[in-house]
Amino acid sequence: MDSGMVEISQLSKTYQDVPAVDHLDLIIPQNCIYGFLGPNGAGKSTTLRMLLSLISPDQGTIKVFGKDLKNHRKEILSGIGSIIEKPDFYLYLSGIDNLNLLSRLSGMRPDPKRMADVLELVGLSNRGNHKVATYSHGMKQRLGIAQAIIHNPRLIILDEPTTGLDPNGILELRQLILNLKLDGKTVILSSHILSEIELIADHLVIMNKGKAMVQGNVHTLLNDQELVVLMETDNPELAKEKIHLYWPSIFIQTISTTELQCQAPKELISEINKVLVESGIKIYSVYYKRKLEDYFFKLTGN
């Protein structure tokens, strides 16, 4: 793997003898969408907070843009935009005032054109002058995304960015994240919505109990996995016998009078379908569960 945009080595943080992050090693490549997955308490937020120097690690090193975070904190933070957990703002200021204030702290002069572009991008053009106290949660979330990208950072960290967004907003955000990648940015995306990560991330880490259970390219990781395939048929028992006859090692079970479930590699699905149809069994539907979901549950034991 190339030298990463972010390189984390042996990172640890313990709270009252309970390890929140436990000797974590991580490499986040440049110009990718990196999914951060894990159940609650897995150590995702603690890791992201350490990456932003909000929390000091007990041990380990973090390198961003090839530089040590401890010694080049200001330089590194000027190239990062982030939303951590929930979008909090100065409620007594307008959206534009908040963005101006934060971009000034990022070393930028207030730029009305950039401001208008970013507000347009997140769909807040007509509410920018209103006080944030009057915003809905979804609007605050959009403003959160705006503040994360206003200073044109190279690395963007989005922790649960879809919370509070309506389906349209989620779709727009997904497109925005993909566009950011096309612009050459690196996006770290932490989310509980596994399908979201599966759709747009090209690399991921699954964390559990402070450790990285697995990390790497999404397609490489998921293609190694067998799928859980659900079939709707007129005769599940006969279908089960036929599949077992041809592929004895496949795990298979009937789950209702019309449904059958088996675990098989993706490329075998069409073969199974062909055998069943040729045996006179009617197949009404074949679909498989999200791969990442199964993979995640298998790894985290949840």
Binding site: R49, L52, S53, L54, I55, S56, R73, K74, E75, I76, L77, S78, I80, S82, I84, E85, K86, D88, F89, Y90, L91, Y92, L93, D97, L101, L102, R104, L105, S106, G107, Q147
Partner: protein, 280 residues
């Protein structure tokens, strides 16, 4: 970056409704005192000086702008620190409670710069409060009551200061008041670093000042040993500017102790804040 941070902090202070409570309170208190003394001041002064008439003959205009300003300062000295704590007591804890501290600290600013910017902005707020107080209490009183010699009754002495010898003393008194209130500001800022609770440091600052002031006002031998260690003991030295002659030794020591307190409180704030994990 420091300039941008200070500007940001001042902007936030200016935009918060709470910041104006202090200005309104000063406006009201000064107006009420000046109005009351303007209407009924002569009989008030007559009552105070009644007991002195047997051995002292007083001529001229006793109730003048300088005396009214002195009375106002005496009255406001307890309230001013409370008004300052209201704004500076939650500059860090309030942001921690609201989650905006996270926003601030993920920008390329050092934590030391954040603490210093908040202190400087708080000091600027204190300065504005004192300028308003000076304009209303000194300027307003001189306009309403005119000039005159300042007669002050201390516990065992009467001090008479010629009118042409008073103004500079007020300027110096306001300067010392600024230093004293800066101690309060740095103290509340320090408490604000220790917690993520917005209101706690404000209440704690007020409680400490009230308790220390009460201890300082009692002439008990036990308290006499404690008083030198209370910063509030040095916050009232502005009164010594109206002694004749001024004891510059006491003034210098007190000013030095006040400055040392500011350095101590800021030092603790910076040390702690730089090591604090931000979980909110």
């Amino acid at each position: 970056m420091m300039y941008a941070l200070i500007r940001t902090e001042l902007y936030k202070i200016a935009k918060r409704p709470r910041s104006y409570i202090g200005f309104v309170a000063i406006l009201l208190i000064v107006f009420i005192i000046e109005f009351a003394l303007f209407i009924d001041g002569a009989s008030y002064i007559e009552f105070i000086f009644q007991q002195l008439e047997s051995f002292l003959s007083i001529e001229g205009k006793v109730l003048n702008g300088y005396l009214v300003c002195f009375i106002i300062l005496q009255t406001l000295i307890i309230q001013m620190p409370l008004l300052v704590a209201l704004v500076t007591g939650d500059v860090i804890s309030g942001e921690a409670a609201n989650g905006t501290l996270r926003l601030l600290l993920t920008r390329p600013v050092s934590r030391t710069e954040v603490v210093m910017a908040k202190y400087i902005a708080g000091s600027f707020y204190v300065l504005l409060l004192l300028l308003l107080l000076g304009a209303l209490a000194l300027g307003g009183s001189l306009l309403l009551f005119g000039e005159g010699d300042l007669i002050i009754l201390k516990s065992e002495t009467i001090i008479v200061l010629k009118s042409n010898d008073v103004l500079w003393r007020f300027y110096a008194a306001f300067g010392i008041a600024f230093l004293s209130l800066s101690v309060v500001s740095s103290f509340s800022l320090m408490l604000s670093c220790f917690t993520d609770n917005s209101i706690g440091p404000i209440i704690l600052t007020m409680a400490v000042i009230v308790i220390f002031t009460i201890i300082g006002s009692f002439d008990l031998p036990l308290f006499d040993h404690i008083k030198p260690f209370l910063f509030t003991s040095y916050m009232i030295v502005w009164r010594n500017m109206f002694d004749q002659p001024v004891d510059w030794g006491i003034m210098q020591t007190s000013i030095l102790i006040l400055i040392l307190h500011i350095i101590l409180f800021l030092g603790v704030s910076i040390y702690y804040f730089n090591r604090k994990d931000i979980h909110t």
